[in-house]
């Protein structure tokens, strides 16, 4: 793997103490250090990621059945995926398709137009490469698929499946979290008193277990017995049960998730703001730039690489959401708050191991396409531009 150098004894007359001979345990370790350093990580990741990935791939192509003295796996081909995409589980995974109205068609055509324009702009830019084109085509296909799916499930008579619910948590949740966290970080970066206090307090939600957050928000969101009851009564909402309304239930999940993760984004963005060079801001202020101009021209360019990376971390984690919907709403009403991980978990609980693995693979596919697209198209570019 690395250079093949030979260790020999430092035999020198002038050296007061020569180093120990190149023998024994520590010398052996030193000689093979390049492998010793990296192998533990490689082995555990191989064992716990590649291995399960292959087993899951196999499981997703089989039907699992308990049999006398154990279980049996029967080869099922792509029937598990077929069921999710076109069969009996379609409503659960993709959602219920409504009748697309004229507005829906406009949205879909507009989405298609935007995606095609984006591709064409890349091809005529003169930077087009084969790999880049393939990557962008995948991104475009998945992007268009999501637009179509969003349109048909949001149309009259349609309903979200676990795929759209997950995407809703990811997009809406992460946007809200980023906006609020950046705002808080900007406030904290002002010359305020007690910054250390606010920093610690705002960081605290990250420490709370998501299961705990879920119960906490169940208590808080209780319309008749929760602490906000007077406010709800005031507006006449005391009898409304949010848990019975799909959108209200989803929003409660997003709020709980945001309460926790704003802390993480906040702390990183604040550090980014604090580390930006003061002289640039002062120079801009001397040049007569207003508050907004300073933010746009000086602050934003210096923090955007950090923002892109921290949001990538956040998006990756957001795809895995399960604890909150499971505890807050148990996926309900109906399947309205069921994320893909939760969907897979329910499938596993009913001993549909093949279906569970198939959902897991669909989640992996969507998450990889979106995260890699985000990484290549946003994170890398911001870094190239500003560092």
């Amino acid at each position: 793997m690395s250079s093949d150098r030979v260790n020999t004894i430092g035999a020198s007359a002038t050296a007061p103490q020569a180093l120990g001979a190149g023998r024994g345990m520590s010398a052996w370790l030193d000689r093979h250090s390049s492998k010793v350093f990296i192998l533990p990580a490689v082995i555990v990741i191989l064992a716990f990621s590649i291995f399960p990935l292959i087993v899951s791939a196999y499981l997703s192509l089989t039907r699992f059945r308990l049999a006398p003295g154990g279980f049996e796996l029967r080869w099922a081909g792509f029937r598990n995926f077929d069921r999710l995409l076109f069969g009996s589980e379609q409503y659960h995974f993709l959602g219920t398709f409504g009748a697309v109205g004229w507005f829906g068609w406009i949205v879909m055509l507009g989405g298609a137009g935007l995606i095609i324009w984006w591709l064409v702009r890349y091809w005529i830019s003169g930077r087009a490469r084969v790999l880049g084109t393939i990557g962008r085509l995948i991104t475009a296909t998945v992007g268009f698929g999501i637009v179509v799916l969003a349109t048909v499930t949001l149309s009259e008579g349609g309903a979200f499946g676990s795929l759209m619910v997950t995407l809703f948590y990811v997009t809406v949740g992460c946007s809200i979290q980023f906006a609020i966290a950046l705002g808080l970080a900007l406030l904290c970066a002002k010359p305020i008193r007690g910054r250390a206090f606010f920093r610690v307090v705002f960081f605290m939600p990250l420490m709370v277990t998501p299961v705990g957050i879920a119960y906490m928000f169940r208590m808080l969101a209780d319309m008749s017995k929760g602490p906000l009851e007077p406010i709800w009564s005031l507006f006449g909402f005391a009898d409304v049960a949010w848990a019975n309304d799909a959108w209200a239930a989803r929003m409660v999940v997003v709020i709980g998730d945001s309460w926790q993760w704003i802390a993480f984004i906040f702390i990183v963005m604040l550090a980014a703001l604090e580390s930006q060079p003061r002289d640039q801001i002062e120079a801009a202020q001397l040049d007569g730039a207003g508050r907004w101009q300073v933010f746009r021209d000086v602050t934003w360019p210096t923090i955007v690489p950090v923002a892109a990376t921290v949001m990538l971390i956040r998006v990756i984690e957001a795809f895995k959401i399960i604890d909150l919907p499971n505890v807050l709403t148990n996926g309900g009403p109906g399947i309205a708050t069921e994320s893909m991980t939760l969907h897979a978990f329910f499938a596993w609980r009913t001993q549909d191991l093949g279906g569970s693995a198939a959902i897991g693979y669909m989640l992996l596919f969507v998450a990889v396409v979106i995260c890699v697209s985000f990484f290549n198209l946003v994170v890398q570019r911001q870094k190239a531009r500003f560092t």
């Binding site: 250079s3 150098r5 030979v6 260790n7 020999t8 004894i9 430092g10 035999a11 020198s12 002038t14 050296a15 007061p16 103490q17 020569a18 180093l19 120990g20 190149g22």
Partner: protein, 355 residues
């Protein structure tokens, strides 16, 4: 201990940065590797240290071939340009670290650390951290850490370049004194020709990965081997005037000089040092020129003169005159040069033409 480099070459992928460097550094010698940045001098040093793998060639320290031996077994100590002090260790721990790694018992280690610290006047700073020291003090810690091992060879990579000008002059003297006292073979890399001239027993000048000249500072100054060495050594540098050499006569802008020897090479360069020429009244000297500016430096005046080469871009030469010299800017003058201090070079190959 003697250090021998035998046809040392280094490539980074397709880029070759060092070509067949061969030299013998004598025991106790202070050798300076001098050259502009990117000439391969630091790479050569790092190959001697073992921090860089050798593409081809051999390195010997003493009579031992160390080419394939890990740095720590080469018995060479290195002082880095950044000093590379361990920020989380005190001065004493920094200096004593090589001994700690050699499992020297603590009492003995402390004693040695204190002795070495005294040598570099750091006794009072042993408990401090590097960040609490000035640049010069950090430099001394780095030296002390190298000395304490009493290695076969010192390797120094521009150790003075991060100091301010005054301190640099001071540390230069200290370094020279210390090396003389210890008598340890030292290989020192720098791009500063003054440092090279003042410190070295011998200087090796590198350019584009090739050895240009390897000799004592005096010889290099008096007898440069080629155009590059001539223009690199000396402050202010040697004046160069382009011209044509044919039939034993050098023709430059507005003047001609007869070599007294029949030589024809075509495009050539004539060189003379600022201190070997003087400004004289127009019509008297060798090269007609006009005064461009003059600067009083202290004990002398540097006069910049513009040649009439008709090219539009100012082509200037520098003349070192007495501190009382005065002249109007723009005045027509001439430059007189002692013919024995003229150097001739082939413009295409850069080689010295001995006449």
């Amino acid at each position: 201990m003697q250090v021998t480099l035998d046809k040392l070459s280094k490539s980074f992928g397709p880029v070759q940065v060092l070509y067949d460097l061969s030299m013998v550094v004598e025991e106790g010698e202070f050798l300076v590797l001098l050259g502009p940045s990117g000439c391969g001098k630091t790479t050569a040093l790092r190959m001697i240290a073992g921090l860089e793998e050798v593409t081809s060639g051999r390195v010997h320290i003493g009579d031992r071939d160390v080419t394939d031996i890990l740095p720590k077994y080469r018995d060479a100590a290195m002082v880095f340009q950044s000093y590379a002090l361990y920020p989380h260790k005190t001065v004493a721990e920094n200096i004593g670290y090589p001994l700690k790694l050699r499992k020297v018992p603590p009492p003995e280690r402390d004693k040695t650390v204190r002795e070495v610290a005294a040598q570099v006047q750091l006794e009072d700073y042993l408990a401090r951290y590097p960040r609490e020291l000035s640049g010069g003090q950090r430099q001394r810690v780095a030296l002390a850490r190298a000395i304490i091992r009493r290695p076969a060879v010192f390797l120094m990579d521009e150790p003075l370049s991060n100091l301010d000008a005054k301190l640099r002059v001071h540390m230069r003297a200290e370094l020279k004194h210390m090396q003389n006292t210890l008598g340890t073979t030292t290989i020192y890399v720098t791009h500063d020709q003054v440092e090279a001239m003042t410190l070295a027993h011998r200087v090796a000048i590198l350019n584009h990965g090739r050895l240009m000249q390897f000799d004592q500072p005096k010889t290099i100054y008096r007898d440069p081997a080629n155009l590059f060495v001539a223009s690199f050594i000396g402050s202010p540098p040697m004046n160069m005037v382009d011209g044509n050499l044919s039939n034993g006569e050098f023709t430059g802008p507005g003047f001609a000089h007869n070599l007294g020897r029949n030589l024809s090479v075509g495009p050539a360069v004539i060189g003379f040092r600022p201190e070997d020429c003087s400004v004289v009244a127009a019509g008297n000297g060798l090269i007609p020129a006009e005064i461009y500016s003059n600067e009083l430096i202290g004990d002398h005046t540097l006069v910049t003169c513009e040649l009439h080469d008709g090219s539009g871009t100012p082509h200037t030469v520098t003349v070192k005159m007495d501190k009382d010299f005065e002249a109007e800017m723009g005045a027509e003058i001439a430059i007189a040069i002692d013919p024995s201090h003229l150097y001739f070079f082939d413009r295409d190959s850069g080689e010295r033409l001995r006449v």
